[in-house]
C-alpha cells in the first residue's frame, strides 16, 4: 500500500505549514488455528516479506488457544482494478496556485480586530493498494481525496467564538480531485464566516429546555455517524470492541425486529457512491463493495459486518465493511458511506417555513456519546431562532442532547433529494493500535421534535 498525503495550512495571512507525507509498506495477516497474527513492514524485498510472514505466524501461534470460528464465505473472488473519481489531480496543482486560493480566502476573513485567528487549509491524498489472499483474490485499487475549509476565531474579553465553513474538524473532503475544492467556494464564504464569528460574541446564549430543532445536513451527518453508524457495527454488537471503542445498545437479535426511529428514518450503507470517502472496489478482505439498507422506515434491517462478525451470527456473506488504515494496521469493521436517505420536505427553506417555533443548528463544534452509543451530547457553532416559519436571531454556544432511539423516533421531516449532500468525515478513530478511518455520510437537513437543548 502506498499513501501520499499533502496538507497546506495558511494562518493569519501566512503559510503556516506544508506537510507532504509518503509511506509504502505491506501488511501480512495470517490465521493459524483459531488465532490471527499480523505483521507490517516497510521492507518490500522478498526477504523482508518472508520475515513479516514469519513474524505474523509466530505471533498467531503464541496466542492462548481458543475455539476456532469460521469466516463468512466470499461470493466472488476480488480480481481486477478499481479507480475512484478524480477530474483534476490535486498533486498537479502548483503550490503557487494553491496558495493563491487559500490567501484569497484568508483575505476575505481579514478586517475585524476581534478575529484572533484565521485559518484556511486544503488537503489531498492518493492511495494505491494491492490485495492478495490465499483464497485466490488478487486486485488493486487507487483513489484520490481532496478538500479543505476555512475558519475564524473571534475573542472579546472572556468570550471566544468560532465559525467554520463548510465544516469544522478538517474541512469538507471528498473522493474527488481539485475540482471539489474549487466547488466549495471558500473565497466567497470567507466574509460571512468572519462576520458570524464576531456576531456570536454578543449573541445571547442558547436557551435551555425542550424544543423542536432543525439540523443542518452536516450536523445530521455527524449525528448519523455517532448514533447510527457506530451502533450498527457488528463487532461492537458482539462485544469485540468492548475494550476501547465500546459496545452497542443494539444486539444481533435486534436485526429485523428493532424500531430504531420514526418512519422517516431510512439509512443505507453504500460503498459504491461516487465521491464517498467510504467508497472502494473491494474492502480489505477482498469483499466487493455493496449497498445495504440498514434501517427501512425506522425498522432495523442489517448491520455493518466483516467476514468474521458475519459468520458469528450466521450471515451468508460479509457486509464488505473490513477496512484498514494503511499498511501497518489490520482491517476491522468500519462504516462505508452510511447515509440518511432523502425525504420529501423540500428545500431547507421549505423546512424552516414549515416550522412554527424552534431552533436551527449548524456546524458541529463538540461531540460526545457513551460507549453503547445511547446518550449523546452535541454542540454546534451557531444556532438561530425559528419563529413563524422564519429564521430569527443568532444564539451562541448551542447544544442538544438525547437518547439515540428516542431522538431518531422524534424525526418527523427530512429534506428532499435536491437538498441532500455527501459529507466526508476524516477523523473516525477506532481500533488498537489506533486507526483513523475516512467515511462519508449523505444527509439532508432534518427536523426533530421535543429535543433537550441548551444543556451546556
Amino acid at each position: 500500500m502506498a499513501r501520499h498525503t499533502e496538507n497546506v495550512l495558511v494562518r493569519d495571512g501566512r503559510l503556516e505549514r506544508i506537510d507532504d507525507d509518503r509511506s509504502d509498506g505491506v501488511g501480512v495477516r495470517v490465521r493459524s488455528g483459531s488465532a490471527w497474527g499480523f505483521a507490517a513492514t516497510r521492507d518490500l524485498t522478498r526477504a523482508g516479506l518472508r520475515q513479516a510472514l514469519a513474524r505474523a505466524m509466530a505471533i498467531a501461534e503464541a496466542q492462548p488457544a481458543s475455539a476456532a470460528y469460521p469466516l463468512a464465505p466470499l461470493q466472488a473472488l476480488a480480481r481486477g482494478h478499481w479507480q475512484g473519481p478524480c477530474d483534476v489531480d490535486p498533486f498537479s496543482i502548483s503550490l503557487a496556485d494553491k496558495l493563491a486560493l487559500l490567501m484569497a480566502a484568508d483575505e476575505g476573513m481579514r478586517g475585524d480586530p476581534r478575529i484572533v485567528r484565521r485559518e484556511v487549509h486544503c488537503q489531498a491524498r492518493r492511495e494505491q493498494s494491492a490485495f492478495a489472499s490465499t483464497d485466490g483474490a488478487a486486485c488493486s485499487q487507487s483513489f484520490v481525496h481532496c478538500g479543505g475549509g476555512i475558519g475564524a476565531v473571534a475573542v472579546d474579553g472572556e468570550e471566544v467564538q468560532m465559525r467554520s465553513f463548510p465544516v469544522a474538524h478538517g474541512g469538507a473532503v471528498a473522493a474527488a480531485g481539485w475540482e471539489h475544492l474549487l466547488g466549495l467556494e471558500l473565497v466567497g464564504q470567507a466574509p460571512r464566516v468572519a462576520e458570524e464569528a464576531c456576531a456570536l460574541l454578543t449573541a445571547p446564549a442558547c436557551p435551555s429546555g425542550r424544543s423542536t430543532i432543525v439540523l443542518h445536513d452536516e450536523q445530521v451527518a455527524l449525528q448519523i455517524h455517532e448514533s447510527i453508524g457506530h451502533a450498527l457495527e457488528l463487532d461492537r454488537m458482539l462485544l469485540f470492541e468492548a475494550s476501547y471503542a465500546g459496545t452497542s445498545w443494539v444486539t444481533p437479535a435486534d436485526l429485523g425486529t428493532l424500531r430504531y426511529g420514526s418512519p422517516a428514518l431510512n439509512i443505507t450503507a453504500d460503498a459504491t457512491i461516487a465521491g464517498g470517502l467510504g467508497s472502494f472496489g473491494w474492502d480489505d478482505e477482498g469483499v466487493q463493495a455493496t449497498r445495504t439498507p440498514l434501517v427501512v422506515e425506522g425498522q432495523l434491517r442489517a448491520a455493518l459486518a466483516d467476514r468474521a462478525s458475519a459468520a458469528m451470527i450466521g450471515l451468508s456473506h460479509s457486509g464488505g465493511c473490513a477496512r484498514a488504515d494503511g499498511f501497518a494496521r489490520q482491517p476491522i469493521v468500519r462504516m462505508t458511506n452510511v447515509s440518511l436517505e432523502a425525504g420529501d420536505a423540500g428545500s431547507m427553506a421549505d423546512l424552516i417555513a414549515d416550522t412554527d417555533e424552534g431552533l436551527y443548528l449548524e456546524t458541529n463544534h463538540s461531540w460526545s456519546i457513551d460507549d453503547r452509543r445511547l446518550h449523546f451530547q452535541f454542540g454546534t457553532e451557531v444556532a438561530r431562532e425559528i419563529r413563524g416559519g422564519e429564521l430569527g436571531r443568532l444564539y451562541r454556544n448551542p447544544s442538544y442532547a438525547g437518547i439515540t432511539p428516542q431522538f431518531w423516533g422524534s424525526l418527523d421531516a427530512v429534506c428532499s433529494a435536491d437538498a441532500w449532500h455527501l459529507w466526508g468525515l476524516t477523523n473516525c478513530g477506532k481500533g488498537e493500535p489506533g486507526q483513523v478511518a475516512r467515511v462519508s455520510h449523505g444527509a439532508a437537513a432534518a427536523r426533530f421534535r421535543d429535543v433537550e437543548v441548551g444543556v451546556a
Binding site: 501566512r14 507525507d21 481458543s66
Partner: protein, 458 residues
C-alpha cells in the same frame, strides 16, 4: 531499522539545503487485543519514518518518507526545500517560524526511559499475560476484554543548526475489562516502561472487584461530590494540558489561563508540573525540535505558574518567552505545544475509600469516556463514565450507578478539589494513533465538590 537512527538522521541531513531538521522515528511495537476471553487481533509494527523540515524566511515545509535509501531521502529533502522556498517566494514576506532552535550547550542528558527486555517484544509475554487474565476471569464467572501492548520508539534529530540528539524509549500498557453476562463491567489498567510490569491476573482481579451484580441505580442530573479515580483524573489533566497550558492558544488569547497566570486557579492542595524525568512517568529527554526537556511547575499551591512553548509559540508570545521543550512536531505543531509528562502531586488520603468517607451522597467514578471540549476557554468538557460508576452514601462506596454524562470545567474541578490520595500512579489512555507516541499522566485519585451531572444512560 537498517542503520542506527542518529547515523541515518545525519546521513539524511546531508541531502538538506538551508535550514533543515531531520527527524528519524523508528517504531517496533506489538499489540494484542482480546475480547470474550480470547485473543482477537495481534498487530506487530516495524516501521521507520524520516521527516525533513525545511525553513525558508520563516516559512516551513515538511516531507516524510519511510523509504530509507539515498534516492528516497534526497527526494524527500528536495520536496521539503522546494515547498518552503515556493512559500517564501509566493509571500514575499517572512513567515511565523523563528528558525531552528540553538543546540543545547551541554549534551542532552539521557532519559533512562528504555527497558531492553520490553524492546524484545516477545509475543509469548503477551500470550501469557492474556492467559492469566482469561483463567482468573473464568474462575470468577466473568469474561475478559482488553489490550496488551508494548513498544520501542527510537527518535533521532539532526539539524543544520547543529542539534544532534537520539533516544530510545519503551512503553507498555495493559487494560482489562471484566464483564458479567448481564453486561456489568469493571476496569483496571497499568502503564509502565516495562512490559514485565503488566500482570494480567492482578489487573483482572482489580477489574472483577468492580463488577457489582446489583441492578444499577439512575442518578438524576445535578451537582454532586465526586471521587475520581486516577484514570479519570488523568483524562481531565490531559485536556487541561491542551486547553490551559498550550502556549500558542495562550498567545492568541484563546487559552484558559489568559490573564490568570499568577492567580489562584485551583485549590491550594493542587500542585501540577510537567516532569519529564519523574521516576514513574514515560520519560523523555527532548521534544520534537530536539530541545531538552526540563521540569516545569504549571500550578503551584493552586496558583497558575506557566504555559508551555515550542519555538513557534514562543515567537508568537514574544517578550521573554522561549521554548520550554514541549514541541509535538518539528517546527511546532499547528495546534500548539502541550505538556506530555504531567505529574499531579498526591495528598494525604490512603485510598478512594478514605476520600469517600466525608461524602454523604456522591459519586465514585473509575473511568471517563469520549471526553471532548465544549468551550475551550472555560476548559468546559463533556463526557460519560463507563466500566464502573458507583453511588457514595454515608461515606461508603455503595450501589452501582448507570453511566452518567458530565459537563463540567476541568479547572473548576481542580478549584473544588478537597483531598487527594497519597500515591500518584501513571495512567494512560494508550491512544496509539499514527506513529506511536506513548504518554500518560502521573496522578492520584481526588475528591471534589460540585461535579456537574447532565444526564444518564438508560
Amino acid at each position: 531499522m537498517s542503520a542506527p537512527p542518529l547515523e541515518l538522521a545525519e546521513r539524511a541531513l546531508e541531502h538538506g539545503t538551508g535550514q533543515t531538521q531531520v527527524t528519524v522515528i523508528g517504531e517496533r511495537s506489538l499489540t494484542s487485543r482480546f475480547a470474550r476471553s480470547r485473543s482477537t487481533q495481534v498487530t506487530a509494527v516495524d516501521d521507520t519514518t524520516v521527516e525533513f523540515l525545511c525553513a525558508t524566511d520563516g516559512h516551513t515545509s515538511t516531507a516524510t518518507t519511510n523509504a530509507l535509501d539515498d534516492d528516497s531521502l534526497r527526494d524527500a529533502a528536495r520536496r521539503a526545500a522546494a515547498a518552503a522556498e515556493a512559500a517564501a517566494r509566493t509571500h514575499g514576506k517572512p513567515g511565523g517560524y523563528p528558525g531552528l532552535p540553538v543546540p543545547a550547550e551541554t549534551p542532552v542528558r539521557p532519559s533512562d526511559g528504555h527497558d531492553p527486555a520490553t524492546a524484545e517484544l516477545g509475543p509469548a509475554l503477551a500470550g501469557s499475560a492474556l492467559q492469566a487474565a482469561f483463567t482468573l476471569a473464568e474462575r470468577r464467572g466473568l469474561e475478559a476484554f482488553g489490550i496488551w501492548t508494548a513498544g520501542e520508539v527510537s527518535t533521532a534529530i539532526a539539524t543544520s543548526a547543529g542539534t544532534s540528539v537520539h533516544e530510545a524509549v519503551t512503553d507498555a500498557h495493559m487494560r482489562v475489562i471484566a464483564r458479567d453476562p448481564g453486561g456489568r463491567s469493571g476496569f483496571a489498567s497499568h502503564t509502565s516502561m516495562r512490559s514485565a510490569d503488566l500482570d494480567g491476573e492482578s489487573l483482572l482481579r482489580r477489574a472483577a472487584d468492580r463488577v457489582d451484580l446489583r441492578e444499577p441505580l439512575t442518578l438524576p442530573p445535578g451537582e454532586y461530590p465526586v471521587v475520581l479515580e486516577a484514570e479519570a483524573v488523568g483524562i481531565l489533566l490531559d485536556f487541561l494540558g491542551a486547553l490551559a497550558f498550550n502556549g500558542l492558544a495562550h498567545a492568541q488569547g484563546r487559552g484558559a489561563l489568559v490573564d490568570r497566570l499568577g492567580t489562584s486557579v485551583a485549590a491550594p492542595a493542587v500542585n501540577l508540573a510537567d516532569s519529564p524525568r519523574y521516576p514513574s512517568t514515560l520519560r523523555r529527554a527532548f521534544d520534537a525540535e530536539g530541545v531538552p526537556k526540563r521540569p516545569l511547575p504549571l500550578i503551584q499551591d493552586g496558583v497558575a505558574n506557566a504555559v508551555v512553548h515550542d519555538t513557534r509559540s514562543a515567537a508568537a508570545a514574544g517578550g521573554e518567552a522561549r521554548s520550554t521543550g514541549h514541541a509535538l512536531a518539528a517546527g511546532g505543531d499547528p495546534e500548539g505545544p502541550v505538556p506530555t509528562n504531567l505529574v499531579l502531586v498526591g495528598g494525604g488520603a490512603a485510598d478512594e475509600h478514605e476520600l469517600a468517607a466525608p461524602i454523604e451522597r456522591g459519586i465514585y467514578v473509575t473511568r471517563l469516556w469520549y471526553v471532548n471540549p465544549v468551550r475551550e476557554r472555560e476548559t468546559l468538557l463533556t463526557g460519560t463514565t463507563r466500566d464502573g460508576t458507583f453511588l457514595i452514601e454515608d461515606g461508603r462506596i455503595s450501589s452501582p450507578l448507570r453511566d452518567l454524562r458530565f459537563t463540567d470545567s476541568a479547572l473548576r474541578l481542580l478549584a473544588a478539589t478537597e483531598a487527594l490520595t497519597a500515591a500518584p500512579r501513571l495512567v494512560s489512555e494508550a491512544d496509539l494513533y499514527y506513529r506511536r507516541f506513548a504518554h500518560g499522566q502521573v496522578c492520584p485519585a481526588l475528591r471534589a465538590q460540585g461535579f456537574r451531572v447532565t444526564g444518564a444512560t438508560v
